[in-house]
């Protein structure tokens, strides 16, 4: 573990028993966990290379309890790390040794479904997939579909602004959330947004979504639900080169087609997936595209023909169109199992998440290959091709001394490369602890200071999820200081009337 977390505050650790007693007074029964062996399941999230048992875990059941916990921690300067299902791939829910881990798993109820206004009000511990399950009998679904959707919670999705394979057409979490109930670190309960399409004043909801648990704790979420498209059809297309696959993607979009999903896999990923689930993927191609089209049958047929023509023009060597739902799901099975499939060919893998302008894909893959040789570690690539979101999976063995560190250094180089070609550090997994120290690669000191000033407006004591997202913790008083220079205009010849 190469990243440093804020050092534990000895004064807080010395008060551990008192803090546990206070939390027990708020959440009676089994909702406070503090024995070392019982804390172990909470010591990491989806970023398993990082582990740290929390000081104590509290599992509230009511909004009042959440508010009381946060008020107590606020008054006593105790840090709090919120956690949903613990599936973050960036360490967003990594505990701190001197912090309370606030688990929201008991908030697991669907509160209201309104098909007329096409929305659902749910508690934050409800899983992403459970929302779709709750509304599918009426022909609806919840669009964002991160691959952890069977386990990840909607509260965690809000914190991370989660995406999925369908977000080019249907948006990320932020585009599908209408409102939240939020408890601030001071224990105030706020409603941001609601059942209308917009809210008055500043779009605070817009910054709460994707704030990685640093601005508040979400206790209720109102999401948009969508009528399920009449049909969906998938095309499975193999290409002899990554360049030709990339050109097919570009021409599809240039033709005005925004597919419901457009995924690319490189050769190592194709082979790993095929060996694992036998989806019938061609093994003699360098790149595989899955293009999913949805809508009325007539639309799917029309667009499938267009995409097939584009693919052929770009030298596709295999091309299959799903004839029924079973075949469509089979096409997806390999892609959806890509991560565990890679897990079979390597003792460990490290999943990256940069976004690049799509046109730079061939260059980025080429440079990645060179880095792979340099670090002596293999890499397999799955790629949300429509929106340029790259998921390189770095293969390593944690039992070999130094390999984890090498994998991390390789990953950091990939993300620097993404920024260098005009992209970003993270497309959907979040910064968390994982990419925290790379933030200056993408943002200037002033950019980061302005973001932290926003944090100060929500949590001036910096008690909520500290050590995540920002490489340097500035105190709010320091960030707020202003130096106004009295004197002449720097540009005396500036036009003014």
């Amino acid at each position: 573990m190469s990243l440093k977390m804020p050092p534990a505050d000895e004064r807080i650790l010395a008060r551990r028993d008192e803090i546990i007693a206070a939390l027990r007074a708020i959440v009676p029964g089994e909702g406070v966990i503090h024995k070392p062996d019982e804390l172990r399941p909470y010591e990491s999230d989806g970023l398993t290379a990082y582990r740290q048992p929390p000081m104590v875990v509290v599992l509230p059941e009511t909004v009042d309890q959440v508010a009381a916990i946060l008020r107590y921690c606020h008054r006593n300067a105790v840090k709090v790390v919120p956690r949903g299902s613990g599936t973050s791939l960036s360490g967003g829910a990594l505990p701190l040794g001197d912090a309370v881990l606030l688990g929201m798993g008991r908030f697991n109820q669907v509160l209201e479904i309104d098909y007329e206004d096409r929305l659902a009000v749910v508690q934050p511990g409800v899983t992403n997939l459970a929302i779709t399950k709750a509304v599918e009998a009426e022909g609806f679904y919840y669009a964002p579909d991160p691959s952890s959707q069977i386990a990840c919670s909607i509260g965690g999705n809000v914190a991370e602004n989660s995406g999925g394979v369908h977000c080019l057409k249907y948006g990320l979490t932020t585009n599908n959330v209408l409102g939240v109930q939020l408890v601030t670190m001071a224990g105030e309960v706020l409603r941001l947004g609601g059942k209308a399409l917009d809210a008055p004043g500043l779009d605070l909801l817009g910054v709460v979504v994707g704030s990685e648990g640093l601005l508040g704790v979400v206790t209720e979420v109102t999401v948009r639900i969508l009528p399920k498209p009449e049909t969906a059809r998938a095309l499975l297309i193999g290409f002899p080169t990554v360049e030709s696959a990339g050109q097919c993607v570009a021409e599809t979009i240039a033709a005005g087609i925004i597919p419901a999903g457009m995924e690319m896999m490189d050769k190592p990923a194709i082979h790993a997936a095929e060996a694992f689930v036998h989806a019938g993927y061609p093994l003699d191609v360098e790149a595989l595209l899955i293009v999913e089209l949805d809508g009325p049958l007539a639309e799917c047929a029309h667009l499938a023909a267009e995409v097939e023509a584009i693919a052929r023009r770009n030298g596709a060597v295999t091309l299959r169109s799903s004839r029924d739902e079973a075949e469509r799901l089979a096409f997806w099975a390999g892609r959806k199992a890509a991560f565990p499939a890679v897990g079979r060919i390597s003792p460990d893998y490290y999943c990256m998440d940069g976004t690049i302008p799509r046109a730079r894909l061939p260059l980025v893959l080429q440079r990645m290959k060179a880095l792979s040789g340099q670090y002596g570690l293999g890499v397999a690539n799955v790629f949300h091709a429509g929106d340029g979101n790259l998921h390189p999976l770095i293969l390593y063995d944690a039992n070999q001394p130094g390999e984890l560190e090498r994998a991390e250094a390789f990953g950091a180089d990939i993300l620097r490369l993404c920024v260098e070609v005009g992209g970003v550090l993270t497309g959907e997994h979040g910064v968390g602890v994982e990419k925290r120290d790379l933030m200056p690669v993408m943002f200037s000191e002033e950019d980061l200071r302005q973001q932290q000033r926003l944090k100060c407006a929500f949590d001036p004591g910096l008690l909520l999820n500290p050590g995540k997202v920002f490489p340097t913790l500035h105190r709010c008083a320091e960030l707020g200081r202003m130096h106004v220079h009295h004197g002449q205009l720097a540009f005396p010849d500036l036009p003014r009337f």
């Binding site: 706020l190 209308a196 399920k228 009325p296 302005q450």
Partner: protein, 378 residues
Amino acid sequence: MTVFTPDNTVQVQSVIASALAAGNKLELVGGGTRAEFGAPARQAGRLNLTRLSGILEYDPAELVLTARAGTPLAEIEAAVAARGQALAFEPWGGQGSTIGGVLAAGVAGSRRVSAGAARDHLLGFEAVSGRGEVFRAGAKVVKNVTGYDLPKLLCGSWGRLAALTEVTLKVLPRPQERLTLIWRGLADEAGFALMRAALRAPADIAAAAHLPGEATLLRLEGFGPSVAARRGYLAAALAAYGAPEALAEREAAPLWAGLQGGASFSGDAPLWGLSLPPRAALAAIAPLLELGGRYAADWGGGLIWLALDGHEEVIRRQAGQAGGHAMLVRAPAALRARIPALHPQPQPVEALSRRVRLAFDPLGVFETNRFLDLAHAD
């Protein structure tokens, strides 16, 4: 009143720094097409951003366009139209309206119900804060979660946080076909029920509006075979409301244009925009219609343009109780000086909003009292 017309970001910074040093206020202005929104500014210099103009990067295949913030909306729309693309949120503005102004005001047209708002299409920006500091947020790619989503916060912030100098937008393909179906003479309840039924069907409705006593409109967009299929589906599914007519684009366009910003409401009555849960909308406005209000509904019933003299408190109460809010969009200056343009929020939300504003503009250099809620630092 001094008007500053800087040419570049450094000059914008210089104007703001000077205002800070002198303790002056600055009103941020693009094309000035929304100047009559909110209370008239008090003793403020005017920072006119229209000389920060021009498209900087546009790569249609990447679905991304970067422009300086003072670029006219019309120029951007023409550039993307030439490449078969569009700003999907259907922004609107008067002659000279700038992209920065569109974003700062957070305006979206009838497609809001299907394509999202301005905030859903701003990917990144460069701006100068009320601290006089240049900063960037977001990025120039369509998918990004690195750092707080400040582009969302800047949309609809009405120039109270920072002066936008450069913006990166998501652009999308322009639909190949556009078809408006019209049902004439439906009663209000039937018109609203029709919109709800259409929007919950798998028919991918682009826009839905109800003009009372006149027409109920559904707009379908997309590829020809798809539009035809959905038209057939809707005719069957909505048979109970009678057979619709397909409107020629030259007849449909003025109807949709009339909904933009409540443009079809002329006259002196103050104009309000009520954002409401669609199902609650009709009941919420019923007492307002009895008081003489006239309305048109867009966004499937989620947006009500309401023209009504007086009764400001009743309007706000009705909107609030229905779970929505009421924005005073257009009114004589005397009324705007008295009634806040934005619906007041519960105290803890107002207080948090104020702290957020202070995080960007601690000395209140952009606070011209336009919103009647002075947020100056003490």
